[in-house]
Every structure is written in structure tokens, then in C-alpha cells.
Symmetry: C2
Subunit: 127 residues, 2 copies
């Protein structure tokens, strides 16, 4: 484990956001200005494969990285793009039963409007 990998992992594990590779790169650069984008992507790939972090693909948006590897889902605000975690117990079982297929995994993105954006919308609506 190199200095750069440790730095990247640290950034992810201490953040509560779901950051893009670029956001992680920028944070890493503050601590280690010589780090390269390629290094960030390579390490994100390796750590994802190793099961240390989780990669979250989101349609029409760069992938995010999640410090938590425990099964949970993601709600993406359709206005600001923020990603929230949400737990749905037994979802895999539900999907297997309702499809009747041996589902080996899935990607799920839920869309919603977060509190912040809902508030803004309301205010604008009243103008």
C-alpha cells in the first residue's frame, strides 16, 4: 500500500459525501500535489475490486464512490444531484422472487427531490 493509495482511501473513508473521482482527486491534490488523475482512477478501481469501497454508477453522471460496502441503495436528487443512502431490507430476495430468476446482483438508482431543493421549489413557486 502506497502513500497515494492510503491518502485516497482516507479521503473516502472520512467523507460523508459520495464523491466523484475528480472530487477525490482534488482533495488528494491538496495533501499531495503531485498525485495524478490516473493514479486516482487506478486505485479506485483496485480498491473497488478488493471490496474496500463501492463504486456507484449513476446514469448521465460520473461514477461516485461510497465508503460503505454494506448493502444499501442510493437516492439521487433529480435537481441537485446529491446522493443519499437508504436501506431496503431484503430487496435482493424480493427481486429474486418477483422475477423468478437467479439474480446475482443489481444496480438501483432511486430518483427523488431532496429537502433543500423541495424548499427552494416551493419558495420559487410562491413568487
Amino acid at each position: 500500500m502506497t502513500r497515494q493509495r492510503k491518502t485516497i482511501l482516507e479521503i473516502i473513508k472520512t467523507s460523508n459525501e459520495h464523491m466523484t473521482a475528480e472530487e477525490i482527486y482534488l482533495k488528494a491534490k491538496k495533501v499531495m500535489p503531485s498525485i495524478a488523475m490516473g493514479t486516482v482512477y487506478r486505485n479506485l478501481g483496485l480498491m473497488t475490486e478488493a471490496g474496500e469501497i463501492r463504486r456507484i454508477p449513476i446514469p448521465d453522471s460520473p461514477d461516485r464512490y461510497d465508503k460503505s460496502v454494506k448493502p444499501h441503495e442510493h437516492m439521487v436528487c433529480q435537481e441537485c444531484g446529491e446522493v443519499h443512502d437508504v436501506f431496503i431490507d431484503g430487496l435482493l430476495e424480493y427481486l429474486r422472487q418477483s422475477t423468478g430468476a437467479e439474480i446475482t446482483g443489481y444496480d438501483l438508482n432511486l430518483r427523488f427531490i431532496c429537502e433543500n431543493c423541495r424548499r427552494k421549489d416551493t419558495i420559487q413557486g410562491h413568487r
Copy 2:
């Protein structure tokens, strides 16, 4: 509605596959050799917005286009990439209830191994 849009729509509506933009482009080119990739993408975008067809984003794979606009899910074979349709009644309601959030929509990709690939795997396993 132009000749090219009609051609593209026709290709999608008469196919049973879930084609990528490029596959659609190649089929269109056979009928109308002068058609441009940009035209295909533009029309796919317009027709998706208009609700005539559906766009299916799949992680690490180009988007596919679906002739059916009725709610249904997609199972992607993790070996060959083929996309199958599957209906899950009441899934949106289920997701709303189990998250407790006003889910406005979602993208779901189920992973599985299709019959063909399962067969191949078994044969290879016996060698």
C-alpha cells in the same frame, strides 16, 4: 417527421433486441447510407423525451433503446451482455413504501446469467 427519424423509429419498433445507438446507426445505414451518427443520437434523444421509446442506461456499457415504454425492468446477462425484459408488478410502490420517500422514478439493472451462457459454462466446467 423526417425520413431519417421514421427509419430510426421503424428499426427500433420492429426489433426485439435492445440495441445501442451504434447498432441502430448501422441498421439505418443499410437503408439510408448517408445517415450520420449525430442524426441518430439526436433523434434517439428527441424520441426518448417525447416518450416514444425508452432509453436504458447500463453501467459500463453504452445505452440501449427499448421499443416498449410500458414500465418493466431489465436483466442484463453478466457474461454476454444480452438484455432481457422482466415485469415486476408494483415495484415503484414497493420502493416508495420501503424507503418512505416520494420516489419519482428509478433505474434498475438486474444481473444474471442467461440460459445460453449457463449452458456454455457447464460444458466448459466439465472439460
